[in-house]
């Protein structure tokens, strides 16, 4: 892992898991990406379904280490970052 970059563990659920075709991945973020907003922009830059789900009108939520957070939340090395649609339990 290069200096200044973060390795994080991503998890996807429900519609996003199906759209992305995977339930998670481990990612080494490029240096300079330190927040949830930066991560989301990085993923959306993959294009296609990633852009459609993360850079369009669709609503989604993010949890870091199993707590829901806002886009300004800071990431840290080893963080478990989950991205999922608004919840529909109960």
């Amino acid at each position: 892992m290069s200096e200044g970059s973060l390795r994080i563990h991503l998890r996807y659920f429900a519609r996003l898991r199906e759209q992305f075709g995977r339930d998670g991945e481990t990612l080494d973020l490029p240096p300079g990406i330190e927040t949830v907003a930066g991560l989301v922009a990085h993923l959306a830059a993959r294009g296609e379904v990633w852009a459609a789900e993360l850079a369009g009108d669709r609503v989604f939520r993010v949890a870091v280490d199993q707590d829901m957070v806002g886009f300004g939340a800071l990431l840290h090395a080893g963080a478990e970052v989950a991205i999922f649609p608004p919840v529909t339990g109960g």
């Binding site: 829901m68 919840v87 339990g89 109960g90």
Partner: protein
């Protein structure tokens, strides 16, 4: 005088649950309980065409239990609760099946009623469960409802007004 800690029990399971058994266990464990409010959520035909054959519930193991505990802890801060029991089912369910149980126990009925609604309203916006409907045309994910978000926000406003703080959510 401080109350003993609230007995909070959370279970996420595919199996069905028995309301009578859960109620019995709760009241036998604590003779100080004077009122128990019970909410049981059922799987219904979610669309008007009534063609839903099954409902599949996905969740985020670990975060689900953590989120439910946090919600119950928040309820226990706001109301004098003796016990809270939450059971939420996951996996494949069918119309008419029980899906969620919330029991709230207190010495008095108002705390039991109000905290029960609070737990359900927050569960619907905070606990990471997702429902997928199965129909003859295939599966489709259920979209979150704006009214669920406003129900949770309503508690924020009530608590802010009553307790003068807004840091509870």
């Amino acid at each position: 005088m401080s109350l003993p800690p609230t007995d909070i029990r959370i279970t996420v399971q595919p199996e069905d649950f028995d309301l009578a058994a859960e109620l019995s266990a709760m009241r036998q464990a604590d003779r100080g309980i004077g009122a128990v409010a019970a909410f049981v959520g059922l799987v219904r035909d979610l669309n008007l065409a009534a063609d839903v054959t099954a409902l599949e519930l996905e969740h985020y193991p670990g975060m689900t239990e953590r989120a439910l505990h946090t919600i119950c802890d928040e309820a226990a801060v706001r109301w004098p609760l003796h016990a809270v029991r939450v059971i939420h089912r996951v996996g494949k369910l069918h119309p008419g099946d029980q899906i969620v149980l919330v029991l709230t126990a207190s010495a008095h009925r108002h705390a039991a009623y109000e905290s029960n609604a609070f737990v359900m309203d927050y569960l619907k916006t905070r606990a990471p469960f997702w429902k997928k409907e199965w129909t003859p045309d295939g599966p489709r994910w259920i979209e979150a409802r704006e009214s669920d978000q406003s129900a949770a926000t309503r508690w924020h406003d009530i608590v802010a007004h009553t307790y003068g703080n807004t840091d509870h959510d």
